[in-house]
Amino acid sequence: MTDLTTLSLLEASRGLRSGAFSSVELTRASLDRIQRLDAALFAFVFVSPEGALQQARLADQVLARWRKQPASPLSPLSGIPVAVKDVLCVQGMPAAAGSRILEGFFPPYTATSVQRLIDAGTVILGKTNTDEFAMGSSTENSSYGVTHNPWDLSRVPGGSSGGSAAAVASGLCFAALGSDTGGSIRQPAAFCGVTGLKTSYGRVSRYGLIAYGSSLDTVGGFARSAADLLPIYQTIAGHDPLDSTTLTAPAAEVDLQRGDLRGLRIGVPREYFIDGMQASVERGVRQAVEVFHSLGASIHDLHLPHTDLALPVYYLIAPAEASANLARYDGVRVGPRRGKGDLLDQYLETRGALFGPEVKRRIMLGTYALSAGYYDAYYGQAQKVRTLIKQDFDDAFRQVDLIACPVTPTTAFGIGQHGDDPLSMYLEDVFTLPANLAGVPGIAFPVGYDDAGLPIGVQLMAPSLGEAALIHAAHAYQSVTAWHKERPTL
């Protein structure tokens, strides 16, 4: 029998429907592969073999019933093993968000996005590694260890959803959920050579997502192709009464049969090709734009004048929101506790000892930006410049339907390469932050490999609620290219 873990999600789905193999067999194949490979990768922080096999047995019953009544509705995700980034709560599994301050926390409820996957019949294999509270671009900020890039174990997988990206790239699961506050899905997707979708702000419920920057946080997913990602997106998108910031519009249908991009206007913003970026990344992105053109899209030069301000705006707004969101971790209700004196001593010692260096840095930065005397100059000014960045996108999307640009200035960097220089690490996010500030969706997928054999990604962005157009364009590209089918040797 072929190695089931090499199948695409949709191939696995067809195999389950036909009865060629069972969800229990598929799940065992994933669990075996995790067992065999994850000691070297550390994509997972928690694996749930018994729970996964229990869900797989249930899915097999549903599939058996469906085979007797093939006209009845059945999700393409029924029986498919997936993974969940450890910033999303799943009842019965720990949720640590890469932090010691949440060590041993078992949330008593399940995030809406995960619940929708469970309701569709997926098998939840476990939780994937993340930078602490999703703050980082490499998973090096996880308190539980660094995830390794499956294409080169000496390099980072990107972050903060690096565990999910590495797990999908190395065939440990068929799809995975992640979160994206400043690029945390798109950047690891690019570094690991998988397809990653950051949804529009408000498109997917944040109920059960451990909060980082609440005006920027989005939930999305990873798969090995746009076609595989589509059912994940369609399942998790939509209004949730438990998150009043979710949008009510239904998820648009995507016609994957239509292979061309005729009539589509794609803009290429000149501000996204900067001095110092890796030549092979620029070449890969420009070649991908040629492919879009050959599929019938018209290509337009585009101007997003405030792009270079996105980084300072983000690194004031996100830390400010984080400093408020993370005030709740005080050693009273969850996690371990430090300190021997009064209540204030407990707060200071618990937070000082159990938050990692990057989280403390951002809490400090945010606290400063919000503090009396500095609010207007920092946080207030950042919110106003955010308006200008959003207007750039509003103007751009009056001229074009999609924006095509790089995801990152370079391919995956080495573990430890950015050392103790936070600003140089922040610069990794320069092309992904604007979408979060504007609230628009973005998709990243592989368009080639550099001389070291590392994946190069392209990013497409659309107006808010434009996920269908992103998935369609990525699928059209993947229908005439094979980059997304390359697999790391493990």
């Binding site: 926390f105 008593p108 409820y109 702000y201 408000g202 005006s215 209004h239 009043s244 910031t245 009510t248 301000l309 980084l311 300072p312 705006v313 690194y315 004031l316 005030a327 005080d330 009273v332 209700r333 969850v334 996690g335 371990p336 506790r337 300190g339 004196g341 009064d342 209540l343 001593d345 407990q346 707060y347 200071l348 010692e349 937070r351 000082g352 000892a353 260096p357 403390k360 840095r361 809490i363 400090m364 930065l365 606290t367 400063y368 503090s371 100059a377 920092y378 000014q381 919110q383 106003k384 410049v385 308006t387 959003k390 936070p422 600003l423 922040y426 500030l437 504007a438 609230g439 808010s464």
Partner: protein
Amino acid sequence: MALTIEEVRHIARLARLSLTADEEARYQVQLSAILDYAARLRAVDTSAIPPTASVLPLDAPLRPDEARPSAAGAQILAQAPEVTDGMFRIPPVFP
């Protein structure tokens, strides 16, 4: 703009973070560098620009205010480091 070590200590106190002397020195350098970088925002004329707090339209839908099941109290208390008589236990506010 360079932060003083006193400012670093003040921010840490506001943020309820105890820092070692080494951390204070490191954050003084790093936060100063990040704030220097952020200072470029001041050159932007925003006198006529409204702030963006959220990208969403201001019509967040409401749901009926109905009781629904939630986690049992015992389940929530079981996560806490210290519990007494069905309540979170904390050290004294005033020693």
